[in-house]
Symmetry: C3
Subunit: 459 residues, 3 copies
């Protein structure tokens, strides 16, 4: 037994170092693991979108999805990550109360020449955080992607994906998903699981683009009635959606700040990105109950497997803003209500001549908004930030947030797509659309043989 | 260097708090991560079942699978979780020796109004444990689901899935997968990886249902000989099975109690759910060797890729009850033997006029039983619980456990399906079955265009 | 407050034990989790290869892939793991400077009768390390597998897979991916992410086999010009490749030694397998930038989704050897350059009459080599080992490593396949190849019905 105080002090110092190291590598691993899970979201979206396309457009949809993911990465590295840290307090780029925002701070930690933007033995967090945020960015582009299939030009789409993924959503995140964000500090905006800053932004951006892009040839009849244009493989779409659900747990875990030594909000408590305390356990209850409510709601309204799996996602999105605070049966109800309404929102758009091929606005834009407002309705009065005497959540704050997210998504989507339309970069020519994008634009074939009955087996 | 003892004591106290916090968030993350992996099991089952259905029934199979998952969640939240804690000592609901069971305890920790059943800053384990158990529940329903495809009525199936997933298996888990469970405390029943409480239960429940459900139209000829009714996409089924294998590591990791501060069995040692020590390392050796033995065994007997991948799963299930104790070459042998026998069990059922569309009884029911008995044969004498002078594993104990699991699975499956049959809720009418469930019951189509040879590519 | 020094010493001792336990279970979990992610690589390869086969060979390709995975496991358990520890210093099997190599050491820790080769309550690392290495082994076999589809005999393939997965690559790992490896200690060879020891080895082994196996019937015309033999489902191939990308994060995380108490390189710092310090954060930046550069490079050269997704993988492989050290925009450039060159390498082989069905040599062999040389060109002078006065990375060292890997891969691949060819075990007869392997060798059918347009839905 150690009885000498200096020996003991030495042991304590060593223990402090090794315990801190364990905490740090745990935290680094935590965010690291969110990334392969979010890559599953992309495997899922790839399957989903190709399945939702007619076979003449299946590969063109896949190319679009893959290329958008790739293109967003360097833009996010060079600019997007800097935007997140530069503009929380608004476009002035001034420093916020927490001291982790403003142009000066951003340039220090997120400019591409910063020591934090590459391997650095003293920095065990920037890369994994960056990685998680890049995957969020790529998710926004995938949300957009599905709605526009079968007629958008690749160039135009890539421009839109970069604008959304490396500029628009990350500005929204700076405003509403950062402890110095003006929506948070001034309005008590609460959006734990990115219902607004990812889903609403992506959904409303998509809506803006759809207005300029127009419907697919054959979607609407001369009398204005709509035809269903079914994708070529519903099983592929359903499997893709279930992969998205698996990956979504990675998305949600990356919304948590784990307790730790160096850069966390607390040494002993998990927290939201705002610094308010929460637990993975609470979030798990609500995620799974929202998921179940969403499926059941969509099933009761439609009986359709596409809407059921969209409802699985939609149920989680409906609960996302308040996943840290809901009572689980309430999460079930919010998911159920949201997913029950979702198909009607999709029909509403369709009746207005808007051709959203996969219901992206209904699932992400509308239910992201519902998620924000649900917090305003049923979870008022929670502190929006760590510390004492802080602003609290309120219906008005959530409403201001929802309006901001709607505009911040819609306007750039509308304006950029209008510019692309005017310059002829938005849409493929009708003859290409009719023939199929794969035949004209893609050097390989989806199903060169078709799929005929296999020959008789060996036994 | 700190030399003042009160300063040092302060440092130690801080360190105790932060080390405990690291341990707690690690443990919470550990169970959290098992959940997306188990969602992959569901993505896999979805692909597997749709692929194993003829294309006229593909979406109906998918709907069934998705809806069962969703329906189990609220029932498990409101009742199932409470059952697990209430009835370990038997249906009396009395408290067990460990003090973590009985109706009083269950109501305290698992009633839906309990403070442990939702976000609670002082509870960093209930939600993630609950989540893992719900996914186990959903897995039991997926095991059932595949066997019944192409003729079961959705209503009947959902009822059966809820009975199995929110009542039957969790009662089995209370009895045999809980440190106060009577099978454990009285018989030394050892079932580390849920071979009995999940796989045998689900397999025997399925057998009970199949007896009432009857074979698909066209499965048997008037002379009693059987026809093979092949699914429409073997590649989809195989990919699904490999996703199940990936997800199975999540299932198995959730069978471990990690060492920790608050609620673990030990502060320094991983444990089974019974509190007996084990390591992830040992379990990994055995899982991978059982997997390999299963594939090779099934290949030698059948040469068929469907049975090979079923054997991959079956090999792991064969080893599951003793994954913590096998010598790895023994795990290979147990997996090999089990998977070699599996196709014969499937044929045996078929010759008796039972139409198990995917061999669910052979893979889960029979091999779960084999796994339990293998522990009784080759791993006798291990302590079944933590502590001194405890009951040990024995062949008799495993046999009692296997008989219990067989009956506890079979009887409710048989009785509930009989009630459903009598009330006309079990099976679709023959004309629907012949036409295909998708055409009659599903508002969308699996392959609206078929899959024809793609048009020529661009270059 | 504790004021008694012996009480405090007691508290410190307890804390040391519990902090060590947390670190140990974290580290064990870390490697454990790499395994299901790497099983996703196999789910991906399964989809990829079946999709890349004509439908008449789809199941034969799947069987090959599944069986190789299974067969490698016992061979790796009984021999491969022992080889890794026995031969780092060369075929003499002498002990190296670190004291963790040589025949004596290997027999102690890795002989199948060793206490480290199964459940052992005192060993919380061997099994999870072994598991990760087995999955690496299986990955090498999957790389080989794709190139040889549609004409290789199953027996011959399994022999080749075992030779590659349980002997050749692990000898390469002993030499170049072990702190006592002669390539490392003598030449400063640096191969963080196994660009050489996995990808180059597998690629060059494949090349050796392809020379003896010969092209598929119909691949080349009498004038020597090549025909494209497209697989039956490009969407299945693309989804498979995205699953491989998700799983690749598991592969890369298993290349890291996490800081810890017992067996790590450092108590406070993550390390490469050589013991040099690195961070997950740095690796994450570079992985994602290499991924993006690879897709964009392949897209600019080909516009083909198959090459884009191969470029995603190829971009990561190009950066793999130096993932711990690149500046992220450099990783983007290295991925971009590598993936841009990749299709030309594939064409080059094709013009020489070599039929690599999926471009495995170009993606893995060539880009693995490029990755090694890139470190030699742009990352010279890094210490190759932990400690003082150690050898550093150099162009010459990387060149020696690349030549060694090329030969160590190519020669056994060529020689073993030549023996198989001479003994008639390498290739199926031409009439079987023309009819399709599934019809002759497989007792089940891929698509018994074909995939025809679904019947009209219910509504």
């Amino acid at each position: 037994m150690e009885t000498d105080i200096s020996t003991l002090a030495e042991a304590v110092a060593q223990l402090q170092a090794s315990a801190a190291a364990t905490n740090t590598i745990f935290a680094e691993t935590y965010y690291f693991l969110s990334i392969p899970l979010m890559v599953l979201i992309h495997a899922g979206f790839l399957a989903y979108e190709m399945g939702a396309s007619r076979s003449k457009n299946a590969l063109a949809s896949g190319i679009k999805n893959i290329l958008a993911f790739a293109m967003i990465v360097p833009f996010f590295y060079f600019i997007g990550w800097w935007i997140y840290w530069a503009f929380p307090t608004g476009l002035s780029g001034s420093e916020g109360a927490m001291g982790i925002s403003g142009i000066g701070y951003a340039t220090e930690v997120a400019a591409p020449w910063s020591a934090f933007m590459g391997p650095n033995l003293d920095d065990k967090s920037s890369g994994v955080f960056f990685g998680a945020f890049v995957l969020f960015a790529a998710t926004t582009a995938s949300i957009l992607s599905g709605a526009l299939i079968e007629r958008i030009r690749l160039t135009g789409f890539v421009v839109l994906a970069i604008v959304l993924g490396a500029f628009v959503w990350i500005l929204a995140a700076a405003w509403g998903w950062h402890a110095d964000g003006w929506l948070v500090t001034q309005w008590g905006y609460h959006d734990f699981g990115a219902a607004g800053v990812v889903h609403m932004i992506a959904g409303f951006f998509t809506l803006g683009v759809l207005l300029n892009l127009g419907p697919r040839v054959g979607k609407f009849n001369p009398d204005g009635s709509a035809n269903q244009i079914a994708g070529h493989s519903m099983p592929m779409t359903l499997i893709g959606l279930m992969l998205i659900i698996a990956g979504f747990w990675g998305f949600l875990m990356a919304c948590v700040i784990v307790p730790g030594e160096a850069w966390s909000w607390s040494t002993t408590m998990g927290a939201t990105i705002y610094g308010t305390p929460m637990t993975l356990s609470g979030m798990t209850f609500n995620t799974i109950m929202g998921f179940a409510g969403g499926i059941i709601g969509a099933w009761m309204v439609t009986r359709d497997p596409f809407w059921m799996m969209s409802g699985a996602l939609g149920g989680i999105i409906s609960c996302a803003a308040g996943l840290d605070v809901w009572y689980p049966p309430m999460a079930f109800a919010i998911g159920f209500i949201g997913a029950s309404a979702m198909p009607f929102v999709a029909s509403f758009l369709e009746r207005r001549g808007i051709d959203d091929a996969v219901g992206a606005f209904a699932v992400h834009g509308f239910l992201g908004m519902w998620g924000l407002l649900a917090v305003g309705i049923a979870a008022q009065g929670y502190p929006a930030l760590a510390g004492e005497d802080v602003v609290t959540t309120s219906f008005l704050g959530q409403l201001v947030g929802a309006v901001t997210m709607g505009l911040l998504g819609f306007v750039p989507g509308y304006v950029v797509s209008l510019i692309l339309k005017v310059t002829g970069q938005l849409r493929v020519p009708p003859e290409v659309e009719i023939l199929g994008l794969d035949a004209v634009k893609v050097p390989s074939r989806a199903y060169p043989e078709g799929i005929n009955a296999s020959v008789s087996p060996a036994e």
